[in-house]
């Protein structure tokens, strides 16, 4: 390499550049805290800069190469940065609500995936069974146990228990129960042509939005020019007392309130009513829905292995330094660094 090239390499890989880039990275993180900017996006330039600085340091700093464990630590940091980048390109994060008795429908999942994510959510199948959530006094949520039926690969279904920290793992995907859950009235709409369609309308999260248990619903065949029907869930008896321990349960006496313009009708389970806009609505029953967080990180195991290797390399390096330069010795106050 020419003298000028070597100078540039050393400048790019210098401690000064490292410090400047670390400072820039700290600024981005601090800005994320102060202004709630998306740190994950803004941190890419300083990370890329540090990666270049690191590679230049590894190539251009002879004393760094002379200390194999310190070299390995820095090299592993570089590999870790690359793996994090790959992970971001291939990761998937999302959430979905699944009503009791229904199959997971990937079309209902709200997901955000990296451009290189190998999408396979449509190959995930499970049926939502019942679930139990315990609360302590003061509305402190404890265990969630959600029962699922999952294909066992041999043509049968097996039961799986899923919780907040105990995911259902299917391929690259992990499904965790979330704080999000609620009620879903199952209704059957019979159109003016006599055809019936049954479905569930998810009410807002419960008990988080206890006093907002309503949703708008447009019956099948109703165009956007027609105002949707408003459905409200009235729970005459309280489901819980915030001051005592309780378990999430469906109320025994739900009332579905159907509002069309000025018209208001109250339905108990099994009751039906005619809609002014045409057709008939029947309130079949009340079910619950469970919310899941979906994640996929393809490089987790690799990142963990590289991170631990990096730490071990640094520990071995420092141990060697401390052994050869005991505390209090003239050379023992510092670690010789690359020039």
């Amino acid at each position: 390499m020419s003298g000028t090239g070597l100078k540039i390499l050393r400048a790019v890989g210098s401690h000064g550049a490292t410090l400047a880039l670390l400072g820039l990275m700290a600024l981005v993180v601090a800005a994320g805290l102060a202004f709630e900017i998306e740190v994950a996006d803004w941190i890419v330039p300083p990370v890329a800069g540090l990666l270049v600085n690191l590679v230049a340091g590894l190539v251009g700093q002879a004393t760094l190469r002379a200390q194999p464990m310190l070299f390995a630590f820095h090299a592993m940091l570089g590999v870790l940065a690359l793996l994090v980048g790959l992970d971001r390109l291939t990761a998937l994060n999302g959430h979905v609500e699944v009503v009791e008795g229904a199959m997971f429908d990937p079309a209902l999942a709200v997901v955000e995936a990296g451009p290189l994510h190998p999408y396979a959510l449509d190959q995930v199948a499970f049926v939502q069974g019942g679930f139990e959530i315990r609360y302590l006094p003061g509305m402190k949520r404890r265990e969630t146990v959600s029962l699922l039926r999952v294909p066992d690969g041999a043509g049968q279904w097996r039961e799986a228990r899923v919780g907040d920290d105990d995911p259902l793992i299917v391929g690259n995907y992990r499904f965790y129960t979330s704080f999000n859950k609620g009620f879903a009235p199952v209704i059957t709409y019979t159109g003016t042509d006599g055809r019936s369609v049954t479905g569930a309308v998810h009410m807002p999260s419960y008990p988080l939005r206890d006093f907002d248990q309503g949703n708008a619903w447009r019956p099948p065949g109703w165009g956007p020019e027609r105002a949707p029907v408003k459905l409200w869930l009235h729970l005459p008896e309280p489901v819980y007392d915030p001051n005592t321990a309780w378990t999430f349960r469906k109320p025994s006496n739900p009332v579905l309130i159907v509002i069309e313009g000025e018209a208001r009708q109250e339905l108990l389970p099994g009751q039906a009513a005619a809609l002014a806009g045409g057709g008939q609505i029947r309130f079949d029953e009340l079910r619950a829905w469970m919310g899941y967080t979906i994640t996929a990180n393809l490089f987790n195991a690799w990142m963990m292995a590289v991170a631990i290797t990096a730490c071990l390399a640094l520990a071995v390096h420092l141990w060697g330094k401390f052994q050869s330069q005991p505390a209090g010795s003239p050379a023992g106050t510092g670690v010789r660094h690359a020039e």
């Binding site: 410090l19 805290l33 990180n297 640094l314």
Partner: protein, 268 residues
Amino acid sequence: MPSETILLDLAALLYLAAAGVAVIAAIAGKARDRTVLTLLAAALALHTGAIALRWLRLDHGPYVNLFEILSSNVWSLHLIALLASLGVRRLRGALVMTLPVLGVLVLWMMATPARDTAVPMTYQTIWLPVHMVLGKLFLGLVVMALGLCLVVVARRAFGWRLSHAPDCAEAEGLAHRVMLAAVVFQTLMLVAGAAWARDAWGRYWAWDPLESWAFLTWLAVLAYLHWRPRNQGATVLNAALVIGIYVIAFATFFGVPFVSLAPHKGAI
């Protein structure tokens, strides 16, 4: 059987007594290392009893609310100070600075209501104790480095003699070595925290306030470790940098978890 409260009160008194003896001995120009370390050991024994009783009663360790976190950190930081001082004799001279700093934590702990707690579900993973132990080792080493650097600043800025403490260059050099060890535990702490987050919430990093502060602390340590080798002569500045790292670490450990609603708080 003595109650948790009595044991904790006695332990707090002994912690403060150790700090007091260290300070008075330094002012008098005398070494009272043995007395200080004996008081520390006694305080730790009583405090261990208090923590054990509470643990047995609540069926979980001290890591949920502010009182428990203060209590476990007061315990672990004093334990690290004791063990480090027994292992590296030159560190004993910095106890005159380390113990009063820890004394502030003791007073804070005693002023904090010892409310009973329940463990959030996301805390039930093997990664949590690993993460916490590594974090306490990191903070303990930072506190030791802080004591050494306060010795430097007290001498240079205020003209204190502190005749039994290491000289400024040695104190600052020791602090640097302690910080080198600290960064290993800090990095492992971040890795274990990411593994815990992955277990608990399905993601290994989300830039929540505590993660961001922990990352800032790590960047500060890395910056110091890259700065210091080329500026070994800048003793006071280097010491000030370590003090700055302690301030950031202190905010991360004792501030952020209790002012943010992020998952790290164990929000339920």
